[in-house]
Amino acid sequence: MIEQFPALIVVTPLIMSFILFAVSWWNKRLCFPILILTLSACIVFAIGILDTVIKQGKPIHYYLGGWDPPWGIEYVIDHLNALVLVAVAVVAWLVAIYSKSAVEKELHESKLPQFYTLFLLQVTGLFGITATGDMFNLYVLLEIASFSAYAIIAMGERGADFAAFRYVIFGTIGACAYLLGVGYLYILTGSLNMADLSHLIPKLFYNKALLVGFAFFLVGVGIKMGIFPVHFWLPDAYTLAPSAVSALLAPLFTKVGAYVIIRIMFTVFDPSFSIKLYPVMDILGWIAAVGIIFACIMALAQSDLKRMFCYLIVAEMGYIVIGIASGNRLGLTGAILHIINDMFMMACLFTVAGAIMYQMGTRNIYEFRYLHRTMPITLAVFVVGALSVVGVPPACGFFSKWYLILGTIQAKKWLLLFVLLASSLINAVLFFRVIENAYLEPREAHAHAHNGGHPIVTLDRVPLNMLIAMILIAAGIILLGLFSGKIVMNIIDFAIPANL
């Protein structure tokens, strides 16, 4: 049974989303249990796959339809895949638990079945992108994930449908650019299978058409990832979407795009192509550096908490690209570790923003006065997330930034090192604004505090499932930090190609 898991992890959410849709015509209350059951099954599948890959030591090959590659579609799961699968499954499950009350407050109840169906379809697309080993299958599943994202974002507040339309236009350009890249590769090699391409491409290294295909891949997946020059769909779309939707999309969708870039640059195209032959790493480094500075400055200018976090996503993608642009083992380790860490960090931050929206009805950080009295647990989770983004041990963000810094030192790219350190400083300022507003009281207010200077602390009025999900995500951040050494030694070291 375990050898069927790669197909099951993609197919199960697909079937269950339609079962959920059909069941919702009779009984609306069954939607949420079906969602949680499906995602729990997916966690079991993902952990089973990771276990098998670690024990076997070599990748799992799964032939869809029984056809051998390169004629058939193949699902290849190696260490990188399996790690991202587990992270996506766990974060999706936690956000699903979180989403029940968040969505019931923000959406009309006739739209709830549609929300859950789109949730599962989105998760299908994400699992499929991670698991597949075929270039065109990746395009199809990327589009499945994108469509669900377009539709589920449009359910949000005022202006969300326009933001979703802009996302449709941008996202389609990205997907079509990816398809153009696939077309170039197919013309040159005649194959669509990733493993097959990695054997056929090295003979073609000096071909101009191959370089154009590579450029199209970078642009196409870059649009989906949200790298600096082409990230403009991101702030509007993720800010105006419902809270649960932002909490689902922001951690997962862009990071899976980062995984696709790593897969294309280092597995399909040999590392010697991406690093030594053409100055791709320099270009990526410059783009990432400018992107991080831009995103941090834009984040400083925001007063809406969620919009600030959206610019933070762009900055985090810049970190991952810096890790890739270092071009050595340490940098790539940092990039892969940062993908996993950032999933949890962004889930933490966006769930906190959703909880604050639920209770306070506002996301303006200048109205967060005395928030620590009314929402202590939520703010504690926020502080854990903030520490992780800034890079304070034992939260996981410190370890991935450590590897990134080591990578840039080893590659002697001092500009990237400076950008990494400067942006950590700007992140600290960013979060301290919010923490100051929420925790510290101005001097004159303290004299007029109630009952002789002892403030009343009440527990959050957010529902229990949201609190539990947020606490579990925060615990996940700390656990990832404590176990990051094990993750690096046992999984990530094998995920990076050997000749790097």
Binding site: F136, Y139, V140, E143, F147, Y150, A151, A154, R158, G159, D161, F162, A164, F165, V168, I169, T172, I173, A175, C176, L179, L180, G183, Y186, I187
Partner: protein, 130 residues
């Protein structure tokens, strides 16, 4: 220079269509025109792929006169005689993806029109700023 243009005229046509679609997506003000531009962009891509499979003097990729597995084993098939069917199959999927994108975008446009009363982008942004 003329050989480059004339011998690869189909690629020039697709590049032209891509640029027309891209221009429409970026520069037009009306949202429906942007959608049409997106459609042109996707169709240029589909034509590009289909033209990959064409071969000179080749025919439809179906072996005539055999049914099931009785006859095909004894037939010698020269691949150069048959059009490559793989790009066609890939593009069937891409057409479906294009249709689905258009469907979603049209539904979004209806929502936008009902809410703001206009499909011009600058008027909608003005409306949203209030």
């Amino acid at each position: 220079m003329w050989e480059v243009i004339l011998s690869k005229y189909n690629y020039w046509i697709y590049a032209f269509m891509l640029m027309i679609g891209f221009y429409a997506m970026m520069a037009k003000n009306n949202l429906l025109k942007k959608l049409i531009g997106m459609n042109i962009f996707q169709w240029a891509l589909i034509f590009y792929f289909i033209s990959i499979g064409a071969k000179k003097g080749a025919t439809v990729p179906i072996i005539p006169g055999v049914h099931g597995h009785h006859g095909a084993e004894h037939l010698v098939v020269h691949a150069a005689d048959y059009v490559n069917p793989l790009p066609h199959v890939l593009m069937l999927t891409a057409i479906v993806v294009g249709v689905a994108t258009t469907g979603i975008a049209l539904a979004l446009l209806i929502m936008i029109y009902r809410r703001y009363g206009t499909l011009e982008e600058d008027e909608i942004i003005e409306e949203l700023k209030k």
